[in-house]
Subunit: 188 residues, 2 copies
């Protein structure tokens, strides 16, 4: 089971209300580039994320807006910012860290800061085809001199999903994996 890799740099998903505060009344995100997952796009807009300890500028907003604001960072980022975010699937913000987001027109202090789980986007049909039904997660073999096997790679079936493994920059850099590399889902 070969699968291509998408490496996720730190990024922000915004709810409509927060977009308004950060970028102004009636503002709409501008699509800078479509992402591989249908309907999702890298916005032209960037924000600054900030804690008492440090800030990181030019954090990309991913569109479209969502029902919740979510800030996805790496463990490396978390040390810099002095945060200890939980490892969470997207949308599961239980215990997430609080952080300040600064836009050109305003700022918000919000919870929603997490380190995303490693995950695979796929369709229900692909779950069947690859005999993954009933599984929550799989192990994935990453090749190379700094390769290995990553565990707890969550399956995220949805209609229209593009079949792809998403890992963060820490996982990518630790294993010397780049965007678009091909890796292997392991059978039990």
């Amino acid at each position: 089971m070969k699968i291509s890799v998408g490496v996720s740099n730190r990024h922000v998903h915004l709810k409509q209300r927060d977009l308004r505060v950060l970028f102004g009344e009636g503002y709409e995100l501008h699509n800078a580039a479509d992402l591989t997952q249908p309907g999702m796009f890298k916005a032209e807009e960037v924000v600054t994320i900030k804690t008492d300890k440090a800030e990181i500028k030019n954090v990309r907003v991913i569109g479209p807006t969502r029902m919740y604001t979510q800030i996805e960072i790496s463990k490396t980022d978390s040390y810099k910012l002095g945060l200890n975010p939980p490892i969470r699937n997207s949308g599961d913000l239980m215990g997430s860290e609080e952080i300040t987001i600064i836009g050109p027109k305003g700022e918000i202090k919000t919870n929603g800061c997490i380190i995303a789980t490693r995950h695979i986007h796929l369709t229900e049909e692909q779950m069947k085809y690859y005999k993954l039904e009933g599984k929550d997660s799989v192990n994935v073999l990453l090749p190379g001199v700094k390769g290995g096997i990553i565990s707890n790679v969550y399956l995220r079936p949805s209609s229209n999903a593009f079949f792809e493994l998403h890992i963060d920059t820490d996982d990518a850099n630790a294993h010397m994996i780049k965007n678009g590399d091909i890796v292997e889902i392991l059978e039990d």
Copy 2:
């Protein structure tokens, strides 16, 4: 086979001649803290490492001086610096990247910049005891939500070694592993 983890942040080993250029004639490193490997220490001294693209300040010098100057960085650092260093065992500087090191009294441009292989320090007796003789490398199981198995963990037998797994900050952060954590060497 349980083993404790030492996480190596970016650091520099200096040969005597380079120490002299960076810190002045007759300069000697000051021991800020002993490292777990006998005879080695974290020096009080720090340097700046620099490329055309960026610089990183406060890079720790590890003492004592060696026969060669070696700069060990992470893949994350390499992106910041615009370098593409090879993955190498300590002392194997074939194909290493060139970088500028800046000290309080001078600067040098030198090769020797690598990303260190994952490795285990152990004695010849431990090689025998753990039935690792004849092996170059092993796989190590890292526990946790972002755990997995890291491959190509090189065995580095030497007299007086302290039994410890050394990984870089990318490997540590990707797997949420901290200094002093206990992990497991896998048998074949």
